[in-house]
Structure formats: structure tokens, C-alpha cells
């Protein structure tokens, strides 16, 4: 399968924080959800994909192209949807269009008006009067109007009401029908991903824990519950993290088969949600 985004051993160091050795592929024609706790390195990674930050080492390629030689060409093909307002607040959509459109070779006015109409966006009202959902829609309408092949969204559903979130997911699914578009988006709201994501990339403490299809995640990861007497130094190896309580243990495994072999019917094995996975990888402790 073709990769639209390819990161190879990408490293970026900041004072007291680093993103390390990230190998990430985003497959063409699919939705990849990018999850991780606050401060795990999601935004840093996205900024490197967008060339807003340069990695200290490693390679970033989009559509098989390098930013140093093909920056303009790459940017033409990306639509970036940011969680907060990136436009000039005092302007209306029509003005913004007038500024943005000439920057893109493939800008499509008809499409722009079609989306503003579909999203019920007023063209002559100042952006600062828009609700958060409308700002998101405006940002998306602009991204879609230049025929972006890759849509990158940083926390697109954060702060949106559930109805609008669903609308957005419906819309994203519609965009995926022809198979030529790729979506990469980071989110905290993992239930959104259960519905539309094909691949899940999970980052923690600046390292990529996995990048698997949703099916593989469901086939590998599970919650396991059982009596404390089942745990010893050996059997504990099957788990990512174990939560112990007087009533028994609950643990996350990344290898369902091994757990079935070891414990058989003596444990309860349940589907792990993405939230469960994130929580247990954090060691079950929430650092605020």
C-alpha cells in the first residue's frame, strides 16, 4: 500500500522533552487516528509533518517527496485543519477566500461555495462571531476547496458538541469514498476513532507505541480480569500493566493468544477500548 506520509527515525529535542526515533507511515485512502496523552508529542509530530518544525535528525517525506526540494508542491496537496482559529478574526470568509485562493494552484471556487453552503457558513460575517464548530467548518471548507489529497487535523473534535462531532464524522466518511483522500488526525476523543479510523497511531512520551489497523488493535489488545492467585513473576509478563485490587486484578495485554494459553478459562477477557489502552500504557496513573 502506498504511504502518503512517511517518517523515518525522526527525532526532535526540546529542553526537557523530546520526540524520539519516530517511524510512522500514513496509508493512502485511509483514516489514521493519532492518539496520545497531553504532552505525548502529538502536536510536535504533526508540526514536523507540516514542516512547521524541522526534525534534528531523521527523514520526513510526503507523497514520496522531500520538503527541502518540494515544499510548495507538498503544501498544495495538504489541507490543514487546526483546532483553533488561524484566520484573521476581523475578516469575513469572503475576504479570507480572496487572500487564500491565489496561493493554491488547484483552488476551486465552485467547490468553496458548495461547502460554505453545505456547512451553512455565512460569507459576510466576521470570523470572530463564529462558534467553535463554525470556525472548524470554515477551516475545513478552505482545506477541501483546493482539492487537498491529505487532510491533517489537530484535535478537530475537541470542544465541539456531540451533534456537530457526528456531523463532522459523517462528512469525513463521505470524503473517503473515492479512495484518493487520506486523513490524519489527532484526538483525545477516542470514541470518534472507533467509528471512522482505519489505523491507530499511538504515541507516548515522545515514542510511537504502535501504528496498527483497528482490527489488529482489537485482535491483539484486551482487558484481562482474574483472581490475584493467578499472578506471578512469569504470568505477569503477558501484561502491559496490572491494576491490583482486593477483588482481583485487571490488566491490559497486547497478546491475547498468550493470555489464553497461559490462563485458559480462569480469566475473563474483554475488548479493550482505545481509552483503556492509553490508560494502561500510562501505567494506570494519570499525570496531570
Amino acid at each position: 500500500m502506498e504511504n502518503v506520509v512517511e517518517l523515518k527515525s525522526v527525532t526532535k529535542n526540546f529542553k526537557g522533552f523530546s520526540v524520539e526515533n519516530i517511524d510512522l507511515q500514513v496509508k493512502k485512502g485511509f483514516v489514521t487516528g493519532f492518539i496520545g496523552a497531553n504532552g505525548a508529542g502529538k502536536s510536535t509530530t504533526i508540526k514536523m509533518i507540516m514542516n512547521l518544525l524541522r526534525p534534528d535528525s531523521g527523514e520526513v517525506k510526503l507523497f514520496g517527496l522531500d520538503y527541502t526540494a518540494h515544499e510548495k508542491e507538498i503544501k498544495e496537496r495538504i489541507g490543514f485543519v487546526y483546532d483553533s482559529n488561524v484566520f484573521f478574526e476581523g475578516m469575513n470568509l469572503k475576504d479570507i477566500k480572496r487572500i487564500v485562493a491565489p496561493a493554491y494552484k488547484h483552488w476551486d471556487d465552485t467547490l468553496f461555495y458548495q461547502y460554505t453552503d453545505q456547512f451553512k457558513l455565512p460569507l459576510y460575517k466576521k470570523i470572530k462571531t463564529f462558534s467553535k464548530g463554525m470556525q472548524m467548518k470554515a477551516s475545513l471548507a478552505i482545506a477541501l476547496s483546493h482539492h487537498a489529497e491529505l487532510i491533517i487535523m489537530d484535535e478537530p473534535t475537541a470542544g465541539l458538541d456531540p451533534i456537530f462531532r457526528r456531523e463532522l464524522l459523517d462528512l469525513l466518511q463521505e470524503l473517503m469514498i473515492d479512495g484518493n483522500r487520506t486523513i490524519f488526525f489527532s484526538t483525545h476523543i477516542t470514541t470518534d476513532l472507533d467509528r471512522i479510523a482505519d489505523y491507530i497511531a499511538f504515541i507516548q512520551n515522545g515514542e510511537l507505541v504502535f501504528n496498527q489497523s483497528l482490527n489488529d488493535v482489537a485482535e491483539n489488545y484486551a482487558l484481562v480480569k482474574g483472581g490475584m492467585e493467578l499472578l506471578d513473576r512469569d504470568t505477569e509478563k503477558s501484561f502491559v500493566h496490572i491494576h491490583r485490587a482486593p477483588t482481583g486484578f485487571e490488566a491490559l495485554t497486547g497478546n491475547i493468544k498468550a493470555v489464553k494459553n497461559t490462563f485458559g478459562d480462569s480469566v475473563v477477557i474483554e475488548k479493550a477500548s482505545l481509552e483503556d489502552i492509553m490508560y494502561y500504557f500510562k501505567g494506570g496513573i494519570h499525570h496531570v
Binding site: 485512502g29 485511509f30 483514516v31 464524522l169 459523517d170 466518511q173 463521505e174 473517503m176 469514498i177 473515492d178 479512495g179 467509528r195 471512522i196 479510523a197 482505519d198 489505523y199 489497523s213 483497528l214 482490527n215 482489537a218
Partner: protein
């Protein structure tokens, strides 16, 4: 094509899809050569991810229920009657096992069960 998916079922979603499409084919509701929706269209209609419908179609293809032509889509494959009979037999076997399990649970004897089956069959 009607498919109903339960999010709370223990059965994985792709399996729910394959099973329902199989039933439609075996019941003759989806005839040989009929186009099934593209996996992307189906994903959108069911509001699930493409990778899930992709998996379902792959399974159906593997088992010979549908075939795909690049650029054209997927179609219901010709069903081998012998094979179909065998598949049905397998389903019947599974259902009978469930019947037996249930019967044992309430202590129904084989004779009683046979009688019951006879009455129902001849009805």
C-alpha cells in the same frame, strides 16, 4: 442490501457483515452476479471504518461468496450447489448442537427431543 450491526455484540463487526451477506446470498436474496456496494460506500452507510468493511469483503472473497474486479467493484459469485448444501448442513449442525445443549440444560431426553422434532417437521 440490508445489514444491521450491533455495536454491543461480542461478535466483531466485520464478522457481523460477512455473516449477514452470506445469509443474503444463501437465501437467494442476493443473486449471482449482483453488484454489492463498494467497501467505501458500505463503510459510509454503516458509519464504520473502511478497514472493517475491507476485512469483511476479504473474508467473503476468500470463502468464494463474492469476487472483485479492479475498478468495477465486487459481485456475488456463482454458488456451487454442492458447496452450498455443505455450508447449509454445517449451519444446521451448529443449530442442532445449540438445541441439544438447551435440551440437556432442562433434562429433555433424546426420545422426547426426537418426538418434538418429528411433530414440528411434519407440521
Amino acid at each position: 442490501m440490508q445489514i444491521i450491526i450491533s455495536n454491543s455484540s461480542k461478535e466483531p463487526i466485520y464478522e457481523q457483515i460477512t455473516n449477514q451477506i452470506k445469509s443474503l446470498i444463501l437465501a437467494g436474496e442476493l443473486q449471482e452476479g449482483t453488484a454489492v456496494p463498494s467497501m467505501r460506500k458500505l463503510a459510509k452507510d454503516l458509519r464504520i471504518s473502511v478497514i472493517t468493511t475491507k476485512r469483511a469483503y476479504e473474508e467473503l472473497e476468500k470463502e468464494g461468496f463474492i469476487y472483485s474486479i479492479v475498478g468495477k467493484g465486487s459481485f456475488v459469485a456463482e454458488q456451487n450447489l454442492e458447496l452450498m448444501r455443505e455450508k447449509k448442513l454445517k449451519v444446521i449442525e451448529e443449530q442442532l448442537i445449540a438445541v441439544i445443549t438447551n435440551s440437556r440444560e432442562i433434562g429433555l431426553s433424546l426420545d422426547e427431543l426426537q418426538q418434538l422434532l418429528k411433530i414440528l417437521y411434519e407440521e
